[in-house]
């Protein structure tokens, strides 16, 4: 977008591709933050580079919190918070809870998320 238009396909030259990735990644993260602030939106963004390195942004709280919200929003139930701290529970109670979650699963829901501690 500067000294020439760019074709919308994979940049073949690895050096150019890496440079463009760095610049545009920074631009994308900046735009996401701006949208969040200006319009009071919550945004989760994660980027895996071609070699698997992760870059991420969660505008409110944690990415885990946003993922939960996302799954809830898309799957109806999806995210079931079973226990804040499983280590504080009697194992039998936990198994019973898990059985209940299995029942939920068998009713056709696709995801159960067991979260031991959301706060850190």
């Amino acid at each position: 977008m500067a000294r020439g238009k760019v074709q919308m396909k994979r940049i073949e030259n690895p050096v150019h591709r890496q440079v463009t990735f760095s610049k545009r990644r920074a631009g994308l993260l900046k735009k996401a933050k701006e949208l969040s602030v200006l319009c009071d939106a919550e945004i989760g963004l994660f980027i895996f580079s071609a070699h698997g390195k992760l870059y991420e942004l969660a505008t409110k709280g944690s990415m885990q919190g946003l993922i939960e919200r996302y799954l809830k929003s898309t799957k109806g139930v999806g995210v079931a918070e079973v226990a804040k701290d499983t280590q504080a529970l009697d194992p039998k109670e936990e198994i019973n809870m898990l059985k209940n979650e299995i029942d939920v699963l068998q009713k056709g829901l696709r995801y159960i998320f067991i979260i031991s501690d959301l706060s850190n």
Copy 2:
């Protein structure tokens, strides 16, 4: 960024805020797609409007797939595929599996993801 700079804070006028949200949301999604194509990156992006409406983009496969990859990448284990189809399992076996997953949890891992069917 056009007929005047914008302050980086919440836009108070609801009409302006909504218009800006629509425009910038479209811009952000476009930029994310471009980065993905040009640089061969995988991107997961979700946006919740102030009133909870979800807008999303997953550049390869599904958002669920990207979320799994995200959790794996950040939590080491994070995502444990327990069964492709829980309905095909004997309940006792399933409880044993869940006990094993509890053991994993009690070793300090934070997330277990029970996925009944990844394929649809």
